[in-house]
């Protein structure tokens, strides 16, 4: 979806997506089962779960992290992302 935007800003310019802490993740896949936007994907080799489609992630949504038993999912700070969005919008 190359023309995808959020609040008028190209989605790919907004670094909002989950980061998996592999030292905590137990690969229960609850986050993947939960997320309807296919942000996560399974892998045969290496870590069994990866953030494959970060730009599918809904900006400001952190719902997957709330399904995570071992608290292995983190997101950037909202104020930083908001400041970036405002800056890019002003640039036009």
């Amino acid at each position: 979806m190359p023309d995808d935007t959020f609040m008028g800003v190209k989605r790919e310019r907004i670094p909002w997506f989950p980061t998996i802490d592999y030292s905590k993740c137990d690969f229960c896949m609850e986050c993947d089962k939960f997320c309807p936007h296919r942000v996560f994907e399974h892998r045969e080799s290496g870590p069994k779960l990866v953030v494959a489609n970060p730009n599918n992630c809904v900006v400001f949504c952190r719902a997957c992290s709330k399904t995570c038993g071992p608290d292995a999912i983190s997101f950037p700070g909202k104020p930083d992302i908001l400041a970036l969005i405002k800056r890019v919008r002003e640039e036009g």
Partner: protein, 284 residues
């Protein structure tokens, strides 16, 4: 907790927070005369607890965000009246409970405080009277996708791209979720209000809702202080399905800087293509 509750803990035997959930259930059963529901037996033989769940309000205690107890209750169609999530409570209290399966002093102190909190709760928090006249809107524009029709109030509402609305009257705004949210989540079974008095930045979480399908944080379109929450939703979360723009409001905020917030919000006309796009994507 002003009535005897049925208490459903996750009972997680292999995690420290699961052990704390179990300990909290035992403590409440002993001190508040609650009746414990064993999640394993409930799963195997739900009829064993039919009487208890029919007669008593249900308190669900989850250890970690996997929320096994909540999911079990949802799967069996049980109505949840109160919930505790131990990891959230620990985070909020700023404590790190001991690793391992033997309860330590930090964990036990947390359980004691949570038990006292639960027992001290005597129903909904006090809601300040709303000063403004927020009526259910009557004029809508609609977005149609296949058999679905999504309503968007034609005027007076501001939307963000997270499907939440704000309706501003004077220096107050009510916030809630859109018709698109309630239709895509299907039956909303649980509402957690934001804290009264909390200072909210624009796009901060302002409460959350749950259905069998999903959990969603409401993302506030406006900044400000929470001056009222819709306590009726705690008992009747389905009001969000019935009237998302009226009786299903979530919270009322005393506005911080609406002129600035507004620059990032959409009118009904601006929001409708977003609903159309999301509805189309959701099908695939």
């Amino acid at each position: 907790m002003n009535a005897k509750h049925a208490i459903l803990p996750c009972n997680g035997l292999d995690k420290n927070v699961g052990q704390l959930a179990r300990e909290l259930a035992l403590k409440l059963a002993a001190e508040a005369e609650g009746e414990i529901i064993c999640p394993v037996l409930l799963n195997t033989a739900p009829s064993r607890y039919e009487r208890v769940t029919a007669e008593m309000p249900l308190l669900v205690i989850d250890g970690c965000p996997t929320r096994c107890a909540t999911k079990l209750a949802n799967r069996l169609g049980l109505r949840i009246d109160e919930k505790v999530l131990v990891t959230d409570e620990a985070k909020e209290a700023g404590v790190t409970v001991e690793e391992g399966l033997t309860l330590g002093p930090i964990g036990l102190a947390l359980v004691a405080r949570l038990a006292a909190d639960v027992m001290a709760e005597t129903g909904p928090s006090v809601t300040q009277e709303s000063s403004a006249d927020f009526e259910t809107p009557v004029e809508f524009i609609t977005v149609t996708h296949d058999k679905y029709i999504f309503k968007i109030p034609a005027e007076g509402f501001h939307f963000n791209e997270n499907d939440c609305w704000a309706r501003v009257i004077g220096d107050r705004a009510r916030v809630g979720v859109s018709d698109y949210v309630q239709q895509s989540m299907t039956d909303i079974t649980f509402f957690e209000p934001p804290k009264l008095g909390a200072q909210i930045s624009q796009f901060d979480d302002v409460g959350s809702i749950e259905s069998a399908k999903a959990v969603m944080d409401a993302i506030s379109p406006v900044s400000g202080k929470v001056v009222a929450v819709n306590d009726e939703l705690v008992d009747r979360p389905e009001m969000i399905n019935e009237d998302p723009y009226g009786k299903g409001w979530i919270a009322e905020l005393e506005l911080g800087d609406f002129e600035s917030d507004k620059e990032l919000l959409l009118t009904a006309e601006g929001y409708s293509p977003i609903v159309k796009k999301k509805a189309a994507e959701a099908q695939h």
